[in-house]
Symmetry: C2
Subunit: 305 residues, 2 copies
DNA sequence: CTTGCATCATACCCGGCGGGTATCGGGCGG
DNA sequence: CCGCCCGATACCCGCCGGGTATGATGCAAG
């Protein structure tokens, strides 16, 4: 049996007239008669009572009528849904990001995607860089937002934003009001760094900075993520070096201060597997590129003004 | 889209290998590739990730996979059900019969049909001859069991059984013990006849009998059906002339006695519209024919012994 | 009763499409 | 680097579905 049979049958069942049904189907009447006859032969059942003038459905015909309607409706909705998913306008996008990106521009980017593709179910989670890498490779996620990047040439990448590093200090610390602060001035402070595992990590980047400035922090406190680092700062356990965007969310007991000297900054990258050409991913990365470009234009404008 | 696309897609989705899927479908691999490509083009969606070695379903593919499975399963069950109904082994048969047929051989016939076609839903009802005729013509029923027949050459008919008429008397009537009773002996009794409407009817057949015997019943009582006639007999309201099979069910206060003289008997006919070639009807009438033949053989055997 | 019309079935032809074989192209393993 | 595996492409052929013409049948009107 083919869908043609069902479509033709449905037309005849609804018109109860071969001529009109054929017109509705945009074919001539004879092939329609033939196809219906073939269907009846295949099913071994008479579907229509061809009695004098008016045509009528048999019991088997009534039964097939209901089934055919449902099957064709089902097919139609399947087709529509698949088209939508195939166009990336429905379905699901699994995105994970480093915790320190939950402030700053990433939320705007995600909002933008949500607005453009409201029917796509966004599955969000947070991971550190190592976990992001593993999840991308194992296809547990479609898109990763890493800081600053993931080393893998199997990934497509878009740079989302670059930002300076900044100090997070306990608000009642005397350092908070000092002008022209340098990293070396903090040599005898407790540095709260993250993540604790795996190494090397962002913590080592900061330690490298210190070494470049000619010292090693007197005390180190390693914590899991930037959230707990800030928490520790707020209770006076030490200071931390964080991306500037973190300063957007003020927190009691914490003040943010720039420092003098070498500031390599940090960035956010949006990554996906090279072989993942899913429209959702493509759309998200396109949006990312446009968004990053508009951010750069803003910065340039602000810089020149 | 055609079912071929769904079937091919399903094979590939389950094998995740074009070669094996083609083998399973008993076609060569190239046309399979082409059909899948055509399906993807029509849906505007990539369904498979053809990445290095292992093939994989995309999100759109996963979605279509579920839909395709259900649609094909649905089609399969539709086909099976329609075949059954078309073969008359499932579905519904609407049968109506005169009340006086609820004793005697009709129940056996119906039992026989039930045993042969257990999945067919039998819709039974009782009507008088006039109602049977109307119902058949208007297609409210498929098969009618009338006594003795319906006058209409648009009907196909099988004679189910013929039987003598018999008297139903009040058990304490002196007539009950009289030998060699003749209808004329009952001229001064109350004749309870049916149906009251419409006329002419079975009541007129009995009145014709009396006339032939040279008398008119002194008193007449017309009632709706044979059930109420027997009830009236049982309370001593008079006597009735009924088909012999009615005597099979004994009832307190009623005795059945044969009578001498002309006995035209009566019969049951099984009727259906000539243009109703539904397998259910055909089966039922076939069964009726065989059943009637076996009844006739029984009678002949009993007669000769 | 006969003619004409409406409607579905049959006869026959044609072209498109689905399937076949041969071959290519790329990725992976030896 | 070569050969193999697998999917894609190229090209041909035969079938089947659709078209036109016509038949068969039942009904209505004259």
């Amino acid at each position: 049996m083919e869908l043609r049979h069902l479509r033709y049958f449905l037309a005849v069942a609804e018109e109860l007239h071969f001529g009109r049904a054929a017109a509705r189907l945009d074919i001539a009447q004879p092939p329609l008669s033939r196809q219906i006859a073939a269907l009846e032969a295949e099913l071994g059942a008479t579907l229509f009572d061809r009695g004098r003038g008016a045509i009528r459905l048999t019991q088997a015909g009534e039964l097939l009528h209901e089934h055919a309607r449902e099957i064709l409706a089902r097919l139609d909705s399947a087709s529509r849904e698949v088209r939508l998913v195939g166009a990336g306008r429905a379905g699901r996008l699994r995105l994970a990001f480093v915790g320190s990106a939950s402030h700053g521009v990433l939320p705007q980017l995600i909002q933008g995607y949500r607005a453009a593709y409201p029917e796509v179910d966004l599955a969000l989670s947070t991971m550190n860089n190592a976990e992001l890498h593993r999840a991308l490779v194992q296809r547990d996620i479609d898109v990763a937002v890493a800081r600053p990047d993931l080393e893998d040439d199997e990934f497509r990448r878009e740079t989302l934003v670059r930002e300076d590093l900044i100090l997070a200090l306990t608000s009642d610390s005397p350092l908070a009001s000092r002008e022209g602060l340098r990293l070396a001035d903090l040599a005898d402070q407790t540095f709260i760094l993250y993540p604790r595992r795996p190494r090397p990590s962002y913590a080592d980047v900061v330690l490298g900075l210190c070494e470049r400035e000619g010292f090693q922090p007197k005390r180190l406190e390693l914590t899991q993520d930037f959230q707990s680092a800030i928490s520790l700062v707020s209770v006076g356990a030490g200071l931390s070096v964080v991306p500037q965007s973190v300063a957007q969310t003020q927190r009691p007991g914490v003040v943010y201060r720039p420092y003098q000297g070498f500031n390599p900054g940090t960035g956010l990258s949006v990554l996906s597997r090279l072989d993942n050409r899913s429209p959702h991913v493509v759309h998200f990365l396109d949006l990312t590129r446009r968004f990053a470009r508009s951010l750069a234009a803003q910065d340039a404008g602000r810089g020149s003004s």
